[in-house]
Symmetry: C2
Subunit: 206 residues, 2 copies
DNA sequence: AGCAAGACATACTACTCAGTATGTTGTCAA
DNA sequence: TTGACAACATACTGAGTAGTATGTCTTGCT
């Protein structure tokens, strides 16, 4: 249970996570049942409960995976020696396409994050929620650090850091709400959105 | 508990709507039961089902009320003769405090909007969902119009209008996600947040 | 007064769905 | 070959909940 990160994801498990993300995105986390996820897989409950002890853990692992996706992509592009605004720009241009690539996962975490701590029944679920919270804190910390650096260095204007941080994070996650992939969209559409959002975010801080 | 409604007399129906908004905000729309709402009122199901034909309609009317709150406040402050950027600034400075004043309602609409159209069982619910969609479109139209005017007039730079609009709307609604009223917050905290968000939004468009 | 209707409360039903208990099949090692 | 275990499927239970049917009280209205 503890070594979820280090455990190599079995093919079957990731298939279930992918299906769960899709089904939860479509019907909503609370409305969609385990049977719905199983039906999407052409399987039955047995398969899911063989890999996950409860629905709460399944949802939590979907969220955890969503947080991992972005962190693994964005953290490496940060250059401690580079100016804060340049770092933030490349971070956002990396963040947006990765989020849209793994869209179902992020739709789920957006739904489930509200009221995740309300009723953590079992201890394992509580631990998972804590890990999700920590992961999110860690990821937000990347942005917080650059924004603070930019403010201290004069690249960004001084303003309430918490408000600014939350605003920027919601701004770069905005496509999760409104974006739906279309067959007729230009090949570089996602990249152009990423560029536009990076421009808007940086101007908002300047 | 305080009355969220100052415009209308506190009728039994609005009391139910207020309680529903609070309870749905706390526990989540799908998790919270009608009995939970009734318990919050010190009443029973009978009272709620006397005024609302189904839970779906109750949720929908909460969302509809949320949309009304902001529209009624923001629409009057628009001056067709004023520059687009000035209009947008005062719109945001009006929007944010009103949203935070009626926070539970907007938390509900944020939860329920995802997957509102999925399974509209009855015809009355479908009609209500259509009205919510129209109301939202109308409200977004206020912002869209000013942003387009600003782009045409040179106050704002040219960029994808849809992306810009969605970004601004999510930016000004960001406090719905992270804000929780605190006893030790300064009296003018909400107004200062509103000013900061207006600044960020306008710079993002410039 | 007396009646009708509104505004609820109470008690019940029907149904969904998370979780479990148990059965079945394939694989691999000794 | 067999036994042991992983990876499921099948069938079932129990709890919670949306919705209903019906009873009760109060409030105008004539």
């Amino acid at each position: 249970m503890q070594d979820l990160v280090h455990t190599l994801p079995s093919t079957s498990k990731t298939q279930i996570l992918d299906a769960a993300a899709r089904v939860f995105m479509q019907h909503g986390v609370d409305v969609a049942s385990i049977d719905d996820v199983a039906r999407d897989l052409g399987a039955t409950k047995g398969r899911i409960y063989h890999h996950f002890p409860s629905k709460g853990v399944l949802v939590a692992e979907v969220c955890l995976r969503a947080a991992d996706f972005t962190y693994r992509k964005v953290a490496p592009v940060i250059d401690p020696a580079a100016p804060a605004d340049e770092n933030l720009r490349v971070m956002i241009r990396t963040h947006v396409p990765e989020v849209l690539r793994t869209l179902p996962y992020h739709k789920v975490i957006r739904q489930a994050y509200t009221g995740l701590y309300q009723k953590s029944t079992t201890a394992t679920e509580r631990a998972l929620h804590q890990r999700i919270h920590d992961e999110r804190d860690r990821y937000e910390g990347l942005f917080r650090h650059q924004i603070r650096r930019g403010m201290d260095g004069g690249a960004f204007r001084n303003q309430n850091l918490t408000v600014a941080l939350h605003s920027i994070l919601l701004l770069v996650n905005a496509p999760v709400v409104w974006y739906t992939p279309r067959a007729d969209e230009p090949a570089d559409f996602v990249d152009r959105v990423a560029h536009q959002l990076a421009d808007m975010a940086l101007r908002a801080l300047t």
